[in-house]
Symmetry: C2
Subunit: 268 residues, 2 copies
């Protein structure tokens, strides 16, 4: 009897070459597949709610896999954590209905981006924040984030991936439109809806929180890189509207570094 | 004109093979020597307040070196941080009198040890705490720490290092009694004075704070390992007295893992 298992995962992205399995590289999906295989005695490829790139962290990534193993689901958590490296933790394991799929069933996601503004970044922090000690008009950064609320075509903030389908070869679930996540088939466009997009101070850190029904590849990092342009005065906060309308990656700012980014949660 | 420079350093010990310079290995002293050499154009070996072992962290290690470089001391901080790996940060740099020496001038030190008691240890935390989720009588741990206050012979808690002098070969300042620290020549014994020795809860963590005029090699980790024996009921808290009197390493508990230990500060 096949069961469908849902795992909630936290990981330190600085230790891995991203989520997606790649031959010969330490990836979260690859290590998880190997450990589940050893534990259950069956070869499986856990499906994530979406990819995270090398260096990107997860507080609650979700992955599903089917298994015929008789291991009680509550034991999966303990057994997997015993065998996984300490930089990947299973924080919850539950049996879900057969039709639940980590990616296809997802209705929304929340990401966080951390920017450390102090002069000297702690040696215990540098893996987990982006250090940006340079002058910045924080108010302009804060205001620029408001313009992405609602439904927009985010082509200007999407990675230009000519090898997008190539990267999907191998064991990964095939999808012509595979990007960071394709929440459901009707998302075969670059239109996404953003429910929340807000910056706040936390001590010496600027924290960006964004929640939406889906995100294109590099979208959060490209948004952050563009908000920083507003903070530097290169653009005005309201220019975000024009950048969205341009539907052109070159209209927006640079991709902010991976190590400040966290997948916070996935909504179903 | 030679100047004496005092650096205050923070580092993530999980990235290095300890403080002491060793050929072909990434050590804090070795990397610092290399970077100071590049910046100042002079070969120097910075002297630390004492060694930290592989995996042990520092919040405020102190190191001194002499230089004829004309670089203003306030620029040293910035230039060194530009060239050091992010896991080592210079948090302060100042010119001190010629006779000040990071190790010989030290009058005391404070260490902290962190034990995470939760079931699942965050992937962002494992490098920085010791995960001990097993049953423990915390009150017994707390009480056992009180018995080391004052002046004692800590032979039972000192590493047995037959190769102690061998490890001092090379560039390191020679000392027959070199251990974690030899604060001044009269410390050529295993007698040390402990001013503060206290455990407290911090969320899901047990935090041990110990301050003394000096610490032998592995002393804090051996103390923690022995306090845990009291927590497990293997010994009674008051047995610490007998273990001190035994002056025998085998009377005490195992060496607790390095990654929970922090050199917090050095007093001069």
């Amino acid at each position: 009897l096949s069961r469908n298992i849902k795992l909630t995962l936290a990981y330190d992205g600085s230790e891995f070459r991203g989520w997606q399995i790649q031959p010969g590289l330490a990836t979260v999906q690859g290590i998880l597949a190997e450990v589940i295989g050893r534990v259950s005695g069956q070869k499986v490829l856990p499906q994530g709610s979406g990819r995270t790139d090398a260096g990107v962290h997860a507080l609650a990534q979700v992955a599903t896999f089917k298994t015929e193993s008789p291991i009680p689901v509550e034991n999966f958590l303990k057994v997997l954590n015993d065998k996984l490296p300490p930089a990947i933790r299973v924080t919850a394991a539950e049996e879900v209905s057969e039709d639940f799929h980590a990616r296809h069933s997802a209705k929304g996601k929340t990401y966080r981006y951390r920017i450390f503004r102090g002069t000297v970044c702690s040696p215990f922090l540098w893996r987990y924040v982006t250090h940006y000690p340079f002058p910045l008009n924080e108010e302009a950064v804060f205001r620029s984030a408001e313009y992405i609320l609602g439904e927009h075509d985010f082509t200007s903030f999407a990675a230009v991936d000519p090898d997008r389908t190539l990267r999907d070869s191998g064991l990964q679930h095939q999808s012509k439109f595979q990007d960071d996540e394709v929440l459901n088939p009707k998302h075969a466009t670059n239109i996404r809806t953003i429910y929340e997009s807000v910056w706040e101070w936390d001590g010496e850190e600027l924290i960006y929180l964004v929640r939406g029904n889906g995100f294109l590849h590099h979208m959060v990092r490209n948004l952050v890189g563009t908000f920083l342009l507003a903070g530097k005065g290169t653009i005005q906060p309201e220019d975000i509207k024009k950048i969205l309308e341009a539907r052109d990656r070159s209209a927006a700012g640079a991709t902010a570094p991976a190590n400040g980014l966290y997948l916070v949660s996935v909504e179903y």
